[in-house]
Symmetry: C2
Subunit: 413 residues, 2 copies
DNA sequence: AGCACTTCGTTCAGGACGTGAAATACAGGA
DNA sequence: TCCTGTATTTCACGTCCTGAACGAAGTGCT
């Protein structure tokens, strides 16, 4: 429906993309298998793969015997053809990591953030320093860095050159994309942290092999990353997936967003602890930071604690059921530090609560799982942004700008 | 990300599709404008359009002066090149309509359904009779019918050859697709009625020109059709959009689906009337059928009625806000007979309630409108199914099956 | 009417691509 | 060494888009 032409170049790019994606995701493969699974002719596979080998993007990786005939040569993405840098802008620190093309971490840098509402300029400086630091640390040529992915906690408007709105950081319309691009030539990609973690989980975690999924992150706040047909669902202005502030108890508890009855006020760690404190009036409540207090609550044996947990499971189930009904995913992946902590002990109960609130058929077509990657995977998730672009473009380098005018033959013969 | 090759043929099909779609949607256009807006070269536009004219799919429609030069010839889709039939399987009747390619209705047939849970075989018979009846009535060659779109009220699994699950009809896994295909050679398309109405609204109603929208249908039941980037969002098994059974009042009223606190129990006409009866205990309640009772309630001046309406608006606003937060649409379109009735009098209040429950930013990026097409547009919506396929394929006829082996030239020169 | 000018639409040679068939490369066994 | 079975590569072909040249269809001026 997109009013865009298709040229012969798009075709080649699309075919390179298909081949490269398959090689990258499904390990070393022979040309034969590639032809089989992509429906491309062997001639084209050879041609395209040959081109990518010449460019150094793909390399041969041994061969495997083939029943008395010529052995088939296996192909893989050359890990060292390029590098990816991912960064996680958290509330307390900026973390930067460098990966090769197999997503193996090679270097890491971290910068603490002091202020509660950090200055965007300072964060940008940390990010750029981190980018330089990890490349140097790993001994990688800066020109070999294919992209710099940055995950932040707010919403990121893609259309408007990565303008960031982050309530928790106190950022409103920060042009982080422009700020970073001014400091480096490496292509910059910025996205929401939940979305990048969701992407990582889809490629390497509990979402492998699934095309429709919802990755749900429960921490102090609550968010979701919806993956539809293999790509993240963004909506018109990239803020889709604000699950935490959907109303689940009309007229209920006040949420920090100002509304009443948001899901986050019931299943977010802060909301859970607050509910416990109220239920436990007068008696001592778990202290320390939020995460340890939440853990303590989970381990506490008191009747009050059990009630609060049970209720939390119920609310969470209803919230997940809403997602199941609305998105009809193949899989629901529960993550975030609080989500994992809760899920490790109560997954069956969560499943049951979800089943109770969802329509029978959509629930029967889905499965509720826990995240496999820890919350540290946010930086890796950020690094998937440039990787995704590489795969989508079939590894075709974006042209610098205006290509030089092609040499004209003299007219006539 | 789809592991599918692209060939030079796909390229041509894609380009035809782009041109045809543009011509169909944006009325008569000159070759020049087509080249402009699709980025195709004029040579290719001429070539592709010429092909489509030869096939009779496109025709010239007058010309327009062009500032002293050769006048530009306008092009349009030939209305009579083919016909589309759409059907709406409602709870009380099967309605079948025939349209030309400009979506002008040319003939109509209707068959009442007596039983509450109609026999699928009987419905299929009605549909096939209707198909024959409207073609004959309009004097159209049956071979010129490009497709038969059928809208039903349940969920339709596309992958499994249009197997229908419809709770309201008492159908469980009815292979309606296979049943219809056995009775006609016309290509059959089946989908959920809310989705087809949503599609119609996107093309001809309140969703024109918008790429991300949610069309919400409130009647006795409550449903939604999510349109993402111009295409309906289906989820893994086509049951996405079950908005009516999302929990909005945890532990609240019992819904007919068995759960507690579903949105449908609060804003569906049945739920609203029931709430009114309870609030109005002892005094006379509106009688007659549901639709007139609902209308009466809306017009009633009593304090109780006003309260129930106000509450309904509040619940509806919260439900819409959930959609805004989750899907981040450019537009929310409110329809369905009860939704329209409510919206005609209370749209500002609904907007306000939505604003109150949604996050500020996503709400600011969307607009809440009323459906422009009546509920009778379901059959037309069904007819958009084959139309959408025609546009997607650029009007390329699907090959009957195995194409005849091309004549081989003798080898050598 | 004749002619210059402007704007459209079409034709043509050229280059990029995927494809099937034929040719070639590689390995184990006779 | 020759043969057989597979895996790749080479090559001639057909399809498709494109820029440039060419032809068509009006307008306005002389």
């Amino acid at each position: 429906m997109d009013a865009r032409r298709t040229t012969v170049r798009d075709m080649r790019r699309a075919n390179r993309s298909v081949l490269l994606t398959r090689i990258w995701l499904d390990g070393p493969l022979s040309r034969h298998e590639l032809g089989q699974s992509t429906a491309l002719s062997l001639a084209s596979v050879s041609n395209l793969v040959g081109e990518m080998i010449t460019e150094g993007l793909v390399e041969e990786a041994g061969s495997v015997e083939s029943d008395g005939g010529r052995p088939r040569v296996l192909l893989r993405v050359a890990p060292g053809h390029g590098y990816l840098v991912g960064a996680d802008v958290g509330e307390t620190r900026v973390q930067v990591e460098l990966f090769d093309l197999t997503m193996t971490a090679l270097a890491k840098a971290e910068y603490p953030i002091a202020a509660a509402e950090p200055d965007p300029g300072q964060v940008a400086t940390h990010l750029l320093h981190g980018l330089a630091a990890v490349t140097e640390q790993a001994g990688v040529d800066p020109a070999a860095v294919l992209g710099f992915g940055v995950a932040v906690s707010g919403t990121v408007e893609r259309a408007a050159d990565a303008v960031v709105h982050a309530q928790t950081l106190g950022w409103d319309a920060v042009p982080l994309g422009a700020m970073l691009r001014a400091g480096t030539d490496v292509p910059v990609h910025i996205d929401n942290g939940a979305k990048t973690l969701g992407q990582a989980e889809m490629w390497f975690g509990a979402g492998r092999g699934v095309r429709h999924a919802v990755v749900v992150l429960v921490g102090s706040g609550v968010g979701a990353c919806v993956v539809a047909d293999g790509v993240g669902y963004r909506g018109a202005h990239s803020s889709a997936g604000e699950w935490g502030h959907t109303t689940i108890v009309y007229g209920g508890r006040r949420c920090r967003c100002g509304n009443l009855g948001c899901l986050e006020a019931y299943v977010g760690a802060e909301g859970v602890l607050d509910r416990f404190r109220r239920a436990n009036r007068g008696r001592p409540a778990p202290g320390g930071d939020e995460e340890s207090a939440f853990g303590e609550l989970l381990r506490a044996g008191s009747r009050t604690a059990a009630t609060v947990i049970d209720e939390t499971v119920g609310y969470l189930g209803a919230g997940l059921a809403n997602l199941v009904n609305l998105f009809n995913p193949e899989r629901v992946v529960l993550g975030g530090w609080a989500g994992l902590a809760l899920g490790e002990r109560h997954l069956p109960a969560i499943r049951e609560a979800t089943a109770r609130h969802a329509l029978r058929q959509p629930y029967a077509q889905t499965s509720v799982e826990l995240c496999r990657l820890g919350p540290d995977a946010v930086a890796m998730g950020a690094a998937t942004l440039p990787m995704a672009r590489l795969l989508r473009d079939g590894g075709v380098r974006r042209e610098p700008a205006a290509r030089p005018a092609p040499a004209r033959r003299s007219p006539g013969r």
